[in-house]
């Protein structure tokens, strides 16, 4: 479908300003060539020079958000963008012919716009909205032609990354192996792996040889509030894919951009990528890679030399920018952009690239661009009818309203722009921009790019807008795109909208449907179809709204805006998704498609809660920016639930729109009454992450220990119970710990309230990182027991039965409702908090109830009616995932919580799953095992026992022991305050599989000295005392060759004094 869309609006493709941002980045760093390569595959080389133009950092901003700067950039929305448009327009005049770029490019345009504008500050936009897109043209001589050429490279970098992640995403790979592989590759080639001992990912990049020796650079991927960023960079991303995609086109803090293997770059068809991805790691050694390698080596050299070929770069820009733009800045309908991107990329990747080449982003800022965009939009709007929905959309967002007014004629638009945007917002924008630069600089720690130019930042926004406008010059395509997205949104058909807008959404739906893997292509196709349809028909009903959105979207505020938004979005959900995705990927790697789905799911997950918001959001994106200040957003975002709901999906415009809406409507409110709790929760989460605190240490050790021991369990209950128990212990530790009491926020909290907040914090700091591992552990256990297989088999049987067989006497959910339910359950699976999972389960049940009442409204339905329908529904869902979820909820839920209704529906769901698992068509499944019959009772007992136990028990603590030498082969061992060095040593012998335990002993390495422990020393006391020593000392427990010391003086010297407090703490 994408392709078709692309075909329809090939010219549009160029618009995707994304390239521009990329280009700009590249320009900043001559080495940026790598991105070019990516692009190159499909496209011909374009004028590289423009890229050089030093505004590279700015373009980048769209895709990611700046972490710190957020506060400074609140109001970037549409208005600010407007000015840029003017500038952008100016450039356009130079190459009016570009019309081909059109609407589809819009998203990209935003990104591109910035780059374009600077290069050519002509005022095309006004003159010719459609053709103006030329911003690209300036860079590239003949964009249209390029677009045609580019037709094959329709697949975006992000997509390529996602589909080929089995190749480059090697979470299990050792550093040595990665180094080995990369040493044979050309500079820029990279692998993503996981840092041993840590959960963090590392991007290993091949650097140019130094003195003939291959160099590998390890870039640590850090996580903050669920967003990922490269250490030292200010840009944050929702997930590793976006991060990598961005760095494929923009180098930011890197010496040059990342490069994908040529084979992947050159892959034009999804099939090609599937071939590649099925190779997985083997790809690196395969002929597929080697072939291309040689070809590349030449090109690579060039790129390394300095500014890479523009042509290649151009391609990159096209792909990447759209995506980023979409996700971050597009104020337009969040969902719409992705489809566009594809189509665009397919049609004319090359053209787009030229436009953006980084040059002049800054200068273009002027409002003109924005105006142009508006005019374009307006024209489109005028053509199209406004529906009530549209109007509503408009109302929601300030920009949209403008559009409506303008709808009649371009002039009208301009006026509107002038009035609305220019007067207040625009000004504020400028002011903000001016103010922002300092802020951004200050905030940004690492990247000089950001800080380097204050003006650039503001410019970016404007530029982007301008670019958009310029790109949009080909108004129709853009409009169409927008329209489609909008239409989807307005329709309130979440699925449709989702599909159009984001891959994620569609994927989600599919995922929900229960087939995790295979459906990818279908989804994509669907999306493509939708997009095509939209493009072709340009379902205008929505157009106005779309237009509105478009302007906003293109405008994609500069990084700064971004940051604020991102920050919001970043919060929890995003992190969840990303983590989940990556983890899932690691498992699924062999199947590219599944990964996509997962991603989608995650994205959707975020969005899902907001479904209702979709339509409104689409309309209002820009206004939101203006409306809220970053500072407020920051707090709100982090706090969580609210932020998560609203902001979650980092991707796409929807999110933005949502954010804005949310910002306007809820944000302030929430901040007011939620922020304190959130702050405290955040503090606790930070505490848990801080390895320098005892609690943080405990949490880390606990996680490591859990991961290590998880596989030993043969029963899921046992496994989960252990986790729950540790969480409960952590909680009771924290409540009494001085570390918590040092937090000022505590003062006002009752213990009850505090426990709730701590519980939520623990979900985030413990369960979130462990969720995938827990799923895997459960899956293993169930696979071994054959449970999952039985479930699947019986699911098929069940699907073959009639509703009568099931005992259904009411209406059952129709397919749209089923999709909704599947979506909810998909979200549920992505959720890490048991509490939220239960909430989602209840929502799902509510939807089922509602669907049952369709036939006879008002009639209350009891279990006689509900259970059969639940069976019917479950048979059409991903039962394997749900089975894991049910166990997860049951066992990990805070035992102190009385679930009430949640308990009932959890029981019912569990019972239904068990029923299905044991379903025997002939016997009509009369029997459940006694164990299962009693399971709920036992579960309740467990919960109560747990609770009782938790209040009395001492806390399980851990000691990390290295084998033979410090920091090597480290294991985390569970200990209690009474565990002696002898005990621990015995554990070590087992853990490290030492054959002659007698020849080993435990030592503690402090200040460079190994001190052997005496057998009766209490390691935990030592740990505690060392940990609390001032200044804090680095210490390592090492299990190494040696004999127990005989002297007793040793023991006491270190221990006695300090051990007491330590013990106390640990006991606490």
């Amino acid at each position: 479908m994408l392709s078709s869309a692309a075909a329809t609006s090939p010219t549009v493709i160029p618009k995707p300003t994304a390239p521009s941002s990329v280009l700009s980045d590249c320009s900043s760093s001559p080495k940026s060539t790598p991105p070019l390569q990516l692009v190159d595959i499909s496209v011909t080389p374009t004028p590289l020079n423009p890229q050089k133009s030093t505004s590279p950092p700015l373009p980048l901003s769209p895709p990611f958000s700046i972490r710190k700067p957020q506060s400074s950039l609140p109001p970037p929305n549409s208005k600010p963008s407007v000015p840029p448009q003017h500038k952008a327009k100016a450039p356009k005049p130079t190459c009016p012919p570009l019309p081909a770029q059109q609407p589809s490019a819009i998203p990209k345009a935003s990104s591109t716009a910035m780059p374009k504008a600077p290069p050519r500050p002509t005022s095309k936009p006004h003159q010719r909205p459609p053709p103006p897109l030329t911003s690209k043209t300036p860079v590239v001589p003949s964009p249209p032609v390029q677009t045609q050429k580019s037709a094959h490279p329709s697949i975006s970098i992000l997509e390529k990354l996602i589909k080929t992640c089995p190749v480059w995403l090697q979470l299990g790979m050792t550093k040595e192996r990665a180094t080995h592989i990369l040493s044979k590759e050309m500079p820029g080639i990279f692998l993503v792996r996981r840092d041993r001992g840590q959960s963090l990912m590392v991007v290993s990049v091949r650097l140019p040889d130094q003195q003939g020796v291959p160099q590998i650079l390890d870039l640590h991927v850090k996580e903050e509030r669920g967003m990922l960023y490269l250490e030292g960079s200010v840009l944050v991303f929702d997930n590793i894919f976006k991060l990598v995609a961005f760095y494929c086109v923009s180098r930011d803090i890197l010496p040059f951009t990342l490069k994908l293997p040529q084979a992947i770059i050159q892959a034009i068809k999804y099939e090609d990528m599937e071939v590649i991805s099925t190779l997985g790691v083997e790809f690196w050694g395969s002929e597929l890679n080697s072939h291309i390698r040689e070809d590349l080596s030449k090109s690579a050299d060039r790129s390394v030399s300095g500014e890479i070929k523009l042509s290649s770069v151009n391609d990159h820009l096209w792909y990447i920018n759209p995506i980023f733009i979409e996700e971050y800045y597009n104020s337009l309908p969040p969902n719409s952009p992705p489809p566009i991107l594809r189509s665009q990329s397919l049609n004319m990747p090359v053209q787009a690239l030229p436009k953006f080449k980084r040059p002049p982003p800054l200068p273009p800022r002027p409002l003109t661009i924005f105006e142009d965009a508006l005019t374009q939009v307006s024209t489109k709007v005028a053509r199209e009818k406004f529906t009530s929905e549209d109007s509503s959309l408009l109302l929601l967002s300030s920009p949209p309203p403008v559009v409506q007014k303008e709808e009649g004629s371009q002039c009208g638009y301009k006026k509107a722009e002038g009035t609305l945007l220019p007067s207040t917002e625009a000004e504020t924008w400028y002011k903000q921009d001016a103010a922002q630069p300092p802020l951004s600089e200050a905030t940004k720690q690492g990247s000089g790019a950001f800080s380097q130019k204050n003006p650039p930042v503001p410019v970016r926004r404007r530029i982007s807008e301008g670019q958009l406008s310029g790109e949009e010059v080909q108004p129709e395509p853009l409009k169409e795109i927008v329209c489609t997205s909008v239409a989807a949104e307005t329709n309130e058909d979440p699925s449709a909208a989702l599909s159009l807008i984001c891959l994620d959404d569609s994927s989600i739906d599919q995922w929900v449907s229960g087939q995790s893997g295979q459906s990818k292509t279908p989804q994509e196709e669907d999306l493509g179809d939708q997009s095509k349809i939209s493009n072709g028909d340009s379902t205008v009903n929505m157009l106005p709204a779309i237009d509105m959105k478009k302007p906003g979207a293109p405008v994609p505020p500069p990084r700064r805006k971004r940051p604020s938004q991102n920050a919001i979005i970043i919060t929890q959900d995003a992190s969840n998704t990303t983590e989940g995705v990556t983890q899932e990927l690691s498992h699924i790697t062999p199947q590219p498609t599944p990964i996509l789905q997962n991603l989608c799911v995650s994205a959707e997950h975020q969005k899902a809660p907001n479904v209702s918001l979709f339509a409104p959001e689409g309309g209002a994106p820009q206004p939101d920016h203006d409306s809220y200040s970053t500072s407020s957003t920051e707090e709100e975002a982090e706090p969580t639930p609210m932020g998560a709901l609203v902001k979650r999906s980092p991707t796409v415009m929807l999110d933005r729109a949502k954010q804005r809406l949310s910002m306007v409507n809820f944000s302030t409110v929430f901040t007011n009454f939620m922020s304190t709790d959130r702050k405290l929760q955040k503090r606790i989460v930070e505490l848990a992450r801080d390895g320098n605190t005892y609690f943080g240490n405990l949490v880390q050790d606990y996680r490591a220990f859990t991961l290590d021991t998880m596989k030993r369990h043969s029963s899921s209950t046992e496994m989960l119970q252990e986790i729950r128990q540790m969480m409960t212990q952590l909680k009771s530790y924290l409540i009494q710990s001085t570390e918590l009491q040092n937090l000022q926020e505590l003062a006002t909290y009752s213990e009850e309230k505090l426990e709730i907040i701590i519980e939520a914090s623990l979900y985030k700091s413990v369960l979130k990182p462990l969720r995938e591992a827990i799923y895997n552990g459960l899956r293993d256990i169930h696979s071994r027991a054959g449970t999952l297989k039985k479930l699947k088999e019986n699911q098929q049987i069940l699907l073959g039965t009639t509703t009568t067989d099931l005992g259904v006497t009411t209406c059952v959910p129709d397919s749209p409702v089923m999709e909704k339910i599947q979506g909810k359950l998909g979200n549920l699976h992505q959720e890490y908090s048991p509490q939220k999972k239960i909430d989602l389960l209840l929502k799902t049940c509510k939807i089922i109830y509602e669907s049952m009442s369709v036939g006879c409204p008002g009639k209350p339905h009891g279990a006689d009616d509900f259970l059969p329908v639940l069976m019917y529904v479950l048979a059409r869902c991903n039962m394997s995932a749900l089975l894991l979820d049910v166990e997860y909820m049951m066992e990990l839920m805070d035992p102190a919580l009385q679930l009430g209704e949640g308990s009932y529906y959890l029981t019912t769901t569990y019972g239904a799953l068990e029923h299905i698992k044991n379903y025997d068509k002939q016997a009509a499944s009369r029997q459940l095992s006694l164990e299962i019959q009693d399971s709920i009772h036992r579960w309740e007992r467990r919960r109560t026992l747990n609770k009782a136990r938790a209040s009395h028990s001492s806390i399980q603590d851990f000691i990390t022991v290295s084998f033979l030498e410090a920091c090597s082969n480290t294991k985390t061992l569970g200990v209690d305050p009474n565990t002696t060095a002898r005990d621990l040593s015995a554990q070590c012998a087992e853990k490290f599989e030492v054959l002659d335990p007698d020849s080993y002993c435990l030592s503690v390495l402090v200040d460079g000295h190994y001190r052997p422990l005496t057998p009766d020393e209490l390691p935990l006391a030592i740990k505690s005392s060392l940990h609390h020593s001032e200044p804090r000392k680095e210490y390592y427990f090492v299990y190494q060759h040696g004999r127990w010391p005989t002297e007793e003086t040793d023991k006491q010297i270190p221990h006695t004094p300090e051990s007491t407090p330590a013990q106390e703490e640990s006991l606490i």
Binding site: A863, L867, G900, S925, I936, K947
Partner: protein, 214 residues
């Protein structure tokens, strides 16, 4: 409806004891299990009613003198094919209402089977009530009152004929159950309010609770 007087009297004063019980509904399909409960829940005690997403799970509090008794009412599917799921619901329940339709003798037989199963498999202290529902259809009665009454007496059950339609004996039934429940499991009111109290469902839990009581 007529009987509510008692139950409704006092608001939850902070000092009243709060007992929470899990009550399970058993009975054949279409005997009016959920109608019965809905009548109880929706009929009179709006202020104590908790909103739920559907009628399969309902919660309702009843005030008795110095005690607030909160029922969490778990409905079960009456279809024979889902019989095997029932134990999940009634295990750990402190009370059960077994419902039959006085116009359908087979449902009475089924009710007797449920009672037997409960007495065999549910917790020993469970309070079981037998409800002959649809008493408004007395002209179509096929199960005689005396027959059911005798059976209930023999097996130690509470028994009432009820009508969800007219609300006859509905509140009375629940009040009778509430009165019969052991009140030893009182929760600290504050706890209850916070929904963070001990789990009353399980005897073990209760004991542990009272210990840590706060």
């Amino acid at each position: 409806m007529s009987n509510r007087g008692n139950a409704r009297t006092n608001g939850n004063l902070p000092q009243t004891k709060i007992c929470q019980f899990k009550l399970v509904l058993l009975g054949d399909m279409a005997v009016g299990k959920s109608s019965l409960v809905l009548r109880f829940v929706k009929g009179q005690f709006d202020e104590f009613q908790e909103t739920t997403i559907g009628a399969a799970f309902l919660a309702q509090s009843v005030c008795l003198d110095d005690t607030t008794v909160k029922f969490e009412i778990w409905d079960t599917a009456g279809q024979e094919r889902y019989h095997s799921l029932a134990p999940m619901y009634y295990r750990g329940a402190q009370a059960a209402i077994v419902v039959f339709d006085i116009t359908k003798p087979e449902t009475f037989e089924r009710a007797k089977a449920w009672v037997k199963e409960l007495q065999r498999q549910a917790s020993p202290n469970i309070v079981i009530a037998l409800a002959g529902n649809k008493s408004d259809l007395a002209d179509k009665r096929l199960v005689e009152y005396e027959e059911a009454q005798t059976y209930a007496e023999d097996t130690g059950l509470l028994f009432m004929e009820t009508s969800a339609k007219t609300a006859m004996n509905v509140n009375e039934l629940f009040l009778a159950i509430a009165k019969k429940m052991p009140k030893t499991d009182t929760q600290n009111p504050t706890h209850a309010a916070r929904h963070r109290g001990v789990n009353l469902h399980d005897p073990d839990a209760q004991s542990s609770r009272s210990c840590c009581g706060n």
